[in-house]
Subunit: 374 residues, 4 copies
C-alpha cells in the first residue's frame, strides 16, 4: 500500500501503519507523508522504504506509481490526512486507478461525498472508510445476534460518546483544526465522534435513521464549531433513540457506549471494555459474552488472533478493516466474489448526510428533520 | 406515625414501614391500609397495632386521631397510595393538622400540586416528598462537591434511567394502574421515573431546568400513556443536558445513572452501586469516592450507619428521609430551627411542572418549551 | 429481646438493634449495655425502654427477667460484648432459661466452646452465632446450587479477606482489644475474619476442612497477636483450598471474596457487591445471578425485601439471622418443627477448633495438622 | 530475526511473529518452523519468506545463517517450541553466535538453566525470556511506584492465576504435552503459569522470595504432573505472600491478578483489564491509574502506542519485549550502552530455581524450603 498523511508528529497515520502490519499481509511501499519535502524524506529511514518512494506530493505519487507494473506499484492508498483533503486525494487516487482506504468522515460536505461515491461507482474500484469500531469482534457478534432476532423487535437505541480532550480552550494542535469549518466541515464533535455513533448504530441494528432532532453546543468560547451535542432519533420500523455526544466531557478518555433494547432483551457494548458484550433479558441472568465464548458466531471467530483472556483491543479492530479490505482487493484481482464487511462509500455518504441533517436541525432549534434519500 | 395505603400485597408501603423502623425513633401507631375493611383489619396483627387503630377510611383516621391528645395520636401521616389519591389524602391530613410524608409524584396534576403547596404554606405544617435517591450518602456528597465548585462551571448533565418491568404487555397489577391517566396522571414513565431524574439533577447540581424538548413513546400496544421517553434539557447558566428514560428496557432492573460534567471535572453516580461516586478530571487519576472516604463532608458522615465495606443500600436512603423529616417535626414541636434536606412541597410542584411541560412538548413534536415560573 | 453490650460508643450493638428492628417482629425490652451504670442508664432514653429495664449487670438482668411471666420478660438475649465475655454471659443466660444469640467467635477458647455447646444441648435452648454473611441471599443461592451439583465435584476453594483497618500501629479503641489474647483469644485476625471465611466455605460447599497448614504474621510491631495470615486447606472428598487474610491490607474496606471451583464450573461471590453471584463454566458465557433472577431458589426468594435493582446490603443479611432465629424460637414455643439455617453452637465449636488448629500449625512452622473430631 | 517453532497449528509462534511486526522494526527472514519438512515449507508462502530460508532443522539454519554476511543473516533467533527443546536450541544458537529470545520457562531443569546462563555469559550474547506480562505499561508503572516507595514497607503480596483450560481430561493437543514431564519439566501448572506469577512479583516489588511452602495437586486423573497449586511465600525484608494457581479453574480465561500491600498503601493489577492499576490507601479515595494518567512515569509513557481510551492489550506488551530486545541488540552492534528491562537468563534461572523448590516442598508435604543461592 501507499500512504498520504501520517508524517512526523501525526497520530492516526502511525496507527494505520501498525494495523496494516499486524497480520503480515500488507506492505507499505511508498508514501507522501507530509507537505514539507524535507520532513517527508525523513520518513524513508524510519519506515524502511527507499527514499525515492517518499514522494513530495500525492499527485506525484499517484502519477509515478500508476506507471509501474503490477507487483511493483502500490495496490491501494491509505488517506490519513485532515478531513478537508480527503476528497481531492481520494478523487485523484481513483482517477489514477488505485483503490482507496480513507479516514472518516469521508469528505468536508455531503456534496463532495456524493461526487466521490459516483467516482467509486464509475471506476469500479474499492473504497473503504475507517470506522474501525465496527470491526471489533464483539460488535460483529452484536450485529449477528440482532440480525438473528435475539432481541425481538427493536425499540430503543442509546449511544453515549464522551471525551474530555477539548474541555480546555487550548487543547493542542490536533484540537485546533477539529473545530474549524474549513478543515473539519460543518460540524466538529458531530463529525469526529457523532459519525462513529451513527455508523455503529446502523451497522449493528440494521435500522436506518429516518429523522432526527439535534441540539448542538459550543461550551468553550471562541470555537467556530460544536464541541457537544444531543441528538434524538427516530428509525424505520418504529424504533427510537438518542445519541449523546461531548468532547468537553472532562475526565473521559474515549467513552463510547451503545445499548440496544428490543422486545425480548438488550445488548450492551462499551468501547473501553471491547471484549465484553452484555446480554440482558427480563427472565434470565445477565450474560457476559466474551471472545472466548463457545457459541460465538463462526464469522466472529475468524476475527480472533489470541485466545480469550489475552486482551485484544483497538489495533486489532483497526487491522480487521485492513485485512478485510486487502482480501477484497485480492479477490477483485483474481475475479473471485468477496463479501467484505468494511465500511465503504455508502457509509461515507450516510455519515455526511447525518452530519448535515444534524447541523440543520440544530439551527432550526431542534426541528425534526428527515435524512435525505440518497 | 400513621399510614394510608400499604395494605396486603402492596409494595411501597412495606418499604416505608421498614425504613421508618430502622433507626428506632418512629413508631407506627395507626393506619388505614386498604379500602377493604376486612383486609385492613388483618394488618393489625401483622403490625402489632391495636385493631381499633386500623381505621376503615383515612377520613375516619384523621378525624379520630385529631381528637386524641399529643403523645397518643400520630404525629404525621405517610401517604403510600397510588398517585391519584395523594392529593385528597394529603389535603385532608393537612386540614386535620397532621404533617404529611407523601410518595411521589405529589399529585395527579400541576393544578393539584399548586393547591397542595398553598395548603401546606397556609397551615404551616411540614410536608415531605419521598424522593429517596436524594438521600443516598454519596448523592449528598455529590451535591456538596458541586456546590463547592469542584467541577467548575457546569456544562452537561446526562441522566439515564432504565427498567425492564413494563417490557411485556402484561406486567402485573402494579403495572396496570401506572399506564392509566386516571390513576397515574398525564404521564406514566415520566411520572414514575422521570421525576426522579429531574429531582436528582436539580438537587445535586443546584441548576434549574429552563426549557426542554421531549419525545415520548408507547412501545407496548394498548397502553394509554408513555412507557419510554427522551428529554433534552437546557438549564440556567448555560448548561445543557438529556434525560433518557425507559420502562420497556428489557433486562434492566433499576438502572438509574447520573453524570455531571463541568469545566474542571465530572462526577458520576449509579443507583445500583450507590456507594461509589466517581470523580474524573482530565489531569488526575479517576477517584472512587466511597462511604469510607476520610474526606467525606461532615454532613454526609452523619448519614452513615455502618463502616465502609459493609454495604448499605436503598432502605438506608429511604430511612434518611424519614429521620430527617422526624427531626424536622421534633424541632418544630420544640420551636427549634431546623434545616432539613428532605424534598418538600416545592419539589412536588417542580415535579408536576416538569411532567406537564414534557407532555406538552412531546405533543408539539418536541418543541422547546419553558418550564413555568411558579 | 434483651441485650448485653452495645453501650455508648460501641459499634456492633447498634447494628444488632437496627437489624432486629427491620422486620418489625422483634422488640428490644431490656438490656445491660455497659459496665458503667451511669452510661448504661443513658441508653434507656435513646432506646425508648424504661430505665428500670436498663440493668446494671447481666446477672441482675437474667435473674430479674427470669422471674417475669412470659410475654413480659425477654424471650432471648443478644450478646454483643468483646470475645472474652461471650462465654460467661451465654452460660449465665442459658442457666436462667434464655435463648442466646451471640457475636462470633463464640468463646475465647475451644475448651469454653465445648462447654457452652454442652450447656446448650443440656438445656434444650436455642443458640445462634452471628455469622451474618451466611444469610446474604446470593450466598444462600450459592449454597443451594453447589448442593444441587451445579459445579460438579468440588476441587478448589479460594477465599481472600482483606481489611486495612489495622495497618497503622494506632488504629483506635476497637483495634486495641482485638490484638490482645486476654480479650480476643488465641488469634486476632484469624478469630475476627478467618472464622468468617472458614464458616462461609463450609456453609456454602458442605465440605469439611480436614487439615490445614498456616503461616501467621504480625506486621505491626508491639502486637501480641496476628494481624495477617495465609492458611492452606485440605477438605474431605479431595478438594483443596486457601484462605488469605489480612487486617493490615492498606486501602481495603471489608474485601471478602469467595470462589469455589468444581469439575463443571465456578461460583464467585464478593461481600462488597453482595447482590451479584457469578457463575462461570468453560462452555457458556458468564452469568451474573442477581436478586432479581427468575430462577432463584424459592428459599432464597423468601429472604428478599426489595425488588431487584433496589440495593440491599449488610443490614438485611444481619436481619435474616435475627428473623430466622426469632422464627425458630416461636416454633419452639408452639412446639412446631422448624429448620433454621442460622449458625449455631456447632458452628461456634467448629470456629474455635479452626482457630486453635491454625495457631498450632503456625507455631510448628506450617505443619499440616488435622482439625479435631469433636 | 529467525524463528524455531511456530509451524502450522502452533499458537505462540504466531503471536511472536505478530508482536515482532507491530512496530515495523523487526523482519522475519528465516525459520525452521516444524520438524516435518513438507509442513515447514508451507510456511514460506504464508510468511512471504523465500522457500530456501525455511530450513529443515534448526541446526541447519544456524549453520547456514552463520555463514552469511551481517545484514543478510538473521540477527537473533526466537525459540517458540515446547519447553523440552528450549535448551538444546538456545545452546546451539548461542554457539553459532546468535542472540536468543526464548519462550518461558527457559529450560526443562535448573541444571540446564545454569548451563545456559553460563553459555550466555561466556559468549557475551544477549538472551531474552518472554515474560510479556512484565512489559504491560501499568505493570511497569507499578514497579516504578513501588521502587519510589509509594507503598512504604512491603508486607503482603497476593497473586492468583486461574485458568479453566485443563479442567476436562481431554483438553486438546496443547494440553497434552503440558502435563508430561518429558516435554514440560518437573511441573506443569507451576511451570506454565506459576513462573509468570513468581517473575511478576519479583519484577514489580524488587523483593526476592527466600523460602516457600507448596501444595501441588493433580485434580484430573491420569495426569503425570500438577494442574493446580498453592504456594506460601516468605521474602527478604520480612514480607510474606501467597501464590494461588490453577489450570482446572473452570470458567476462567487467563485470570492473573496481583496485589501488593505495604505499610502505606496497595497496588492492584489484573491481566484481563491490563490498562487499570488501582492505588488504595487507608486515608484517600481509591485511584484508578490508567495509560492516560498525566503523572505516568516517563519511562512508561515511552511504551504507549495509542492514546488513553483506545484499548491496548496483550500483543502490545509482547511487542514491548521484542522492541526492547531489538534495541539492546542494535546498541550492542553499535557499542552503545543500553539498559533493557526485558527478562533475561537470570530471570530464567530464577524461574527454574522456583519450580524445583516448589516441587521439592510439595513432595515434603509443604516443608518450608529456601530458594537456592545461584
Amino acid at each position: 500500500m501507499g500512504m498520504v498523511g501520517g508524517g512526523p508528529g501525526a497520530f492516526i497515520g502511525g496507527v494505520h501503519r501498525a494495523a496494516s502490519r499486524l497480520d503480515g499481509k500488507i506492505e507499505l511501499v511508498c508514501g507522501s507523508f507530509c507537505t514539507d519535502p524535507e520532513a517527508n524524506k525523513t520518513m524513508a529511514d524510519e519506515l524502511f522504504i527507499p527514499v525515492e518512494k517518499c514522494y513530495d506530493t500525492y499527485m506525484e505519487m499517484f502519477a509515478k506509481e500508476a506507471t509501474l507494473p503490477e507487483g511493483e506499484r502500490m495496490d491501494f492508498v491509505a488517506v490519513t490526512t485532515p478531513n478537508s483533503t480527503h476528497f481531492p486525494i481520494a478523487m485523484a487516487a481513483l482517477e489514477h486507478g488505485f483503490h482507496v482506504l480513507c479516514e472518516k468522515p469521508m469528505t468536508l460536505s455531503l456534496d463532495e461525498a456524493l461526487k466521490l461515491r459516483a467516482k467509486v461507482q464509475e471506476t469500479g474500484l474499492l473504497f473503504a472508510l475507517m470506522h474501525n469500531y465496527s470491526a471489533y469482534p464483539m460488535v460483529r457478534q452484536m450485529r449477528k445476534m440482532i440480525a438473528d432476532g435475539v432481541l425481538g423487535d427493536l425499540r430503543k437505541i442509546v449511544a453515549t460518546y464522551d471525551l474530555g480532550w477539548l474541555a480546555a480552550p487550548n487543547a493542542g494542535k490536533q484540537a485546533t483544526w477539529r473545530v474549524k469549518s474549513k478543515m473539519s466541515g460543518a460540524a466538529a464533535c458531530v463529525g469526529d465522534i457523532g459519525t462513529h455513533a451513527e455508523q455503529l448504530i446502523e451497522f449493528t441494528t440494521g435500522l436506518k435513521i429516518t429523522e432526527l432532532s439535534a441540539d448542538l453546543a459550543t461550551f468553550v468560547e471562541g470555537r467556530e464549531l460544536d464541541d457537544d451535542a444531543t441528538i434524538m432519533l427516530r428509525f424505520d420500523k418504529g424504533a427510537k433513540g438518542v445519541i449523546e455526544l461531548s468532547e468537553v466531557a472532562c475526565g473521559e478518555e474515549n467513552q463510547f457506549k451503545l445499548r440496544v433494547y428490543g422486545s425480548e432483551g438488550c445488548l450492551e457494548w462499551s468501547q473501553q471494555e471491547p471484549e465484553n458484550l452484555l446480554l440482558k433479558t427480563n427472565d434470565t441472568a445477565m450474560k457476559t459474552l466474551r471472545r472466548g465464548w463457545a457459541e460465538l458466531d463462526e464469522s466472529v471467530k475468524g476475527l480472533l488472533r489470541l485466545p480469550a483472556g489475552h486482551p485484544e483491543g483497538f489495533i486489532e479492530a483497526f487491522a480487521n478493516i485492513y485485512t478485510d479490505f486487502a482480501a477484497a482487493i485480492a479477490a477483485k484481482m483474481e475475479n473471485r466474489p468477496y463479501a467484505g464487511l468494511f465500511p465503504n462509500e455508502e457509509t461515507g455518504v450516510r455519515g455526511m448526510n447525518f452530519i448535515e441533517t444534524v447541523v440543520a436541525s440544530s439551527k432550526q432549534n431542534g426541528a425534526w428533520l428527515p435524512l435525505k434519500q440518497l
